[in-house]
Amino acid sequence: MLAMALRLMLGVTFIVAAVGKIGDPGKFATIIYGYYLFPGWMINLSAIVLPFVELVAGVALVAGVYPRSAVMILNVLLLAFIGAISINLLRGHQFDCGCFSLAATDTAESAVWLLVRDIGLLACGVYLWFKTSPGMSRQPV
């Protein structure tokens, strides 16, 4: 029951997050650039592909199609987000140029909040990974 609720929560969280990014890939690319962590050639490709990885993995998790694979992907994404936010917090970098609308990461406080949220989601993801047995994966329809 708990695993089912967490699966729904994690899946829907990523679906909702993905929809916003898919609607405005230019803004998402600018956010990725704002981390100052990635080479230029990677930024647009990530902004195009990442939201769809979130969406498809989120839908797969909710629908129970390859849930272990889906949760593995979401955990890797969460680790990457946690790493990126942590690096910027440690180096005191804030996205405050005043030119970009950079979601909720324009202050240290909101970045810490994002970090806490992502760590919480990752805890759910790790729990789900251990709770979902390999035999539960289903073939796609």
């Binding site: 898919i22 609607g23 405005d24 890939p25 230019g26 690319a29 600018t30 650039y33 230029g40 050639w41 930024i43 647009n44 490709l45 902004a47 195009i48 592909v49 939201p51 769809f52 990885v53 969406l55 498809v56 993995a57 797969a60 199609v65 390859y66 272990r68 694979s69 889906a70 593995m72 992907i73 140029c97 005043g98 030119c99 970009f100 390999p134 035999g135 994966s137 796609p140």
Partner: protein
């Protein structure tokens, strides 16, 4: 442990994601180029959207070139940052026309400057698209000779050139 079924699922999810992502980007009106312009030495950075306001051909990328244009061509220099920031420091002779107030100020600007006037717009540097947005609006208004100083106030100040305050 990662089973073979897990790997099959990974492959399935990633293939579906990548194919739909590129197909959607191609079709969507909000789509972006596969590679953006993220090199600040080349000008204002941008994801290069399908309907981008950024025209690299319009940019003045060098502070010395900007100083030369100001001296020789007598262009009107427009600062599109907010007034409080403008008051803290600006290029000599620049006038304040914040982008957010475009509709209110463009009438007076049009009266004072004919469409063939040379206009150079700047904002807060190479991560700021406001100057391009303002330039685009001026072009829609009929102005023909609009340039963007991509380095904006930060590059000008960093070069140690004269600034005005107040």
């Amino acid at each position: 442990m990662i089973s073979q079924d897990d790997l099959k699922g990974l492959f399935f999810i990633l293939i579906v994601s990548v194919v739909s992502a590129f197909a959607f980007n191609l079709w969507s009106d909000a789509g972006i180029a596969l590679f953006g312009q993220w090199d600040k030495t080349q000008g204002v950075v941008s994801p290069v959207e399908k309907h981008t306001v950024v025209d690299p051909g319009r940019e003045i990328n060098d502070v010395d070139a900007m100083a030369g244009i100001m001296k020789s061509q007598g262009c009107t220099v427009v600062d599109v940052r907010v007034k409080e920031v403008f008051d803290q420091g600006r290029l000599p002779g620049a006038i304040s026309l914040p982008l957010a107030e475009f509709d209110e100020v463009v009438g007076d600007f049009f009266m004072a400057h004919p469409p063939e006037a040379c206009v150079v717009v700047y904002c807060s540097g190479r991560e700021c698209l406001d100057s391009h947005r303002f330039a685009e609006r001026l072009l829609e208004f009929g102005y023909m000779n609009v340039r963007v100083f991509s380095g904006g106030f930060p590059d000008w100040k960093a070069k140690g050139l004269k600034i005005e305050k107040g």
